[in-house]
Assembly symmetry: C2
Homo-oligomer: 308 residues x 2
DNA sequence: TCATATCTATAGTTTTTATCTATGCAAAGA
DNA sequence: TCTTTGCATAGATAAAAACTATAGATATGA
């Protein structure tokens, strides 16, 4: 059993034709026939049914080729590793950022990244957490930045930074309290973002059980939310990185949250557990360092070769 | 890059010597030299430092060989799969059972298994959940039977059966209640097993928050626990499968628990997510069917090819 | 139904690669 | 310095992978 034989079988399964696979692999069709026969002989299993004019993969063949794909993938990662370790930082790098984080870091991030790593073909997209997990599992993206505290099977979390939450009070409800205590505003409306599960979950954590369903309304983004609060009264929760985006007038409506150990969210990089391009991965925290306040950044050393 | 080259490099790393690895692999030393040189040339990376008299693996080499091991493992699984699918049910099969389950199923299980699959070299051991998870991850065992409801990264859970919990009341505290309600016995002692985390966690779930720490004492196994309860008063929680082991006298001290949807525990088979010997795996539920009450067994169809 | 187009399998040959034996060369230890 | 130890190299040989040419099988269309 050789990697080549597995590659050949994989291609035949994909193209459902010896001739087409042969062309794609740039060998002749008899070579494929011979090599696959040899593999079948060694395993003593018929991988393909060649009766009639079309090739179909046998039931057992399906399973074996699925495993062959895994094997080939692991083998490919050896080359990826070498490229990552040896090569200059070039090639493609795809990552995704959660919607409650993207607006605050992406503008600076992209500017700094393109300056420092001009040879990397960067591709960034906004992605909701569930889609991000799927994309990571399927290797559609190399890394994701999100704040879901869940530990996901098969994924690895690398803490990036921690930020505080603040309360934004409506203009009308101007109590001149220095800090916010949920109990004091129990009768008011809490407005939270829709579609931003990671933010919402963290945001709820410090007032768990205190807020009934009827006090909660949802909006699409934080700017809208702030306008809703200004117009309708009540309050909302905003992450620390949103503060620079407020007008001085709005800034005066912001309050600290009492018991601030509960009002934090951790933002992390997520990668597949077996991701191998460590140097490339490090370009993310290295770029973050360029524009993020250093007191927010994590300083933990995690996993072989991944520093921060 | 061929599987053979990876195998050779892996062996050299393991034996830290070309000559020793060559002997182990049953080839000559020059063959190894040539093949590894070729691999190094293709990857354009020096895997081993041959300066001085001993061979050391380079830093990059370490990483690459780690990945090579993964690749070789995936390739091996192809052969495992074939053996599992094609071969009669032979070979070794190692599994572990949690301590709160083993006494109830193992005697019948082993008898039935050895009768139905005489060619399988069965090895069963009792193992606590944490050790089981580690053993599964390290491939020390093929499967584990336990009742931790946790979803563990990299592991796959296949429900096996569900059993109820009952309350065993002390002889002295004979209230002739038909069902048990935690509130009614709040002042009594609850005795629970030590070391049997999975059982304890499930057992606690239906009286969460109700039981203070001082009402809890721990014992090593359920028989002891029952004697403690008989002698000292109070009550304990026993799984359904323990009932046949009670004397008729003891049987009369058993009560149903009120709201029985909370007093269930699910017992499952755990395997590595990428476990490939499906036919072998199916011998577990197939054997269970032989002696377990059919109403306790799960009937769910899970994952390709694994039925129940 | 017979010819034809479209597949894969097989035969025979050539090229490439893996392995062997024999030997060289470098470094550590006596 | 001489020997031992251990990997590298050279050259020969056997194994295997790849090619060209062609046979054989099976649907499709006249």
């Amino acid at each position: 059993m050789t990697l080549q034989q597995l590659k050949y079988a994989e291609a035949i399964d994909r193209y459902r034709s010896f001739a087409a696979a042969a062309e794609a692999l740039d060998v002749t069709q008899p070579t494929l026939s011979a090599m696959v026969s040899k593999l079948e002989e060694e395993l003593d299993v018929r991988l393909f049914d060649r009766t009639s004019r079309k090739v179909t993969t046998s039931l057992i063949g399906e399973k074996i080729i699925q495993q062959a794909r895994k094997t080939l993938m692991e083998a490919d990662r050896i080359k990826e590793m070498v490229a990552d370790i040896k090569g200059g930082l070039t090639g493609e790098f795809h990552f995704a950022v959660g919607p409650s984080i993207a607006p605050y870091i992406l503008p600076d991030f992209i500017r700094n990244y393109m300056k420092d790593y001009p040879d990397v073909q960067l591709s960034v997209e906004e992605m909701r957490p569930e889609a991000m997990i799927k994309a990571l599992r399927d290797s559609d993206i190399d890394a994701g930045i999100a704040s879901t505290g869940h530990i996901c099977a098969g994924l690895y979390e690398i803490p990036l930074y921690t930020e505080r939450f603040f309360v934004y009070l409506s203009e009308s409800c101007q109590r001149k309290l220095p800090v916010f205590n949920p109990a004091e505003l129990e009768h008011e409306h809490l407005w939270v973002m829709k579609e931003v599960q990671c933010l919402r979950e963290s945001a709820f954590s410090f007032c768990k059980g205190r807020i009934g369903r009827r006090h909660v309304y949802e909006a699409g983004n934080i700017d809208t939310l702030i306008r809703i609060v200004d117009t309708n009264g009540g309050y909302t929760i905003i992450p620390e990185m949103h503060l620079p985006m407020l007008t001085p007038q709005q800034r005066s409506n912001v309050r600290n949250i009492e018991g601030d150990h509960l009002s934090l969210r951790k933002v992390s990089i997520y990668i597949r557990e077996d991701y191998v391009r460590e140097r490339m991965l490090n370009t993310i925290p290295d770029t973050m360092k360029k524009f993020m306040p250093s007191d927010m950044l994590e300083r933990t050393l995690l996993r072989n070769g991944i520093r921060l």
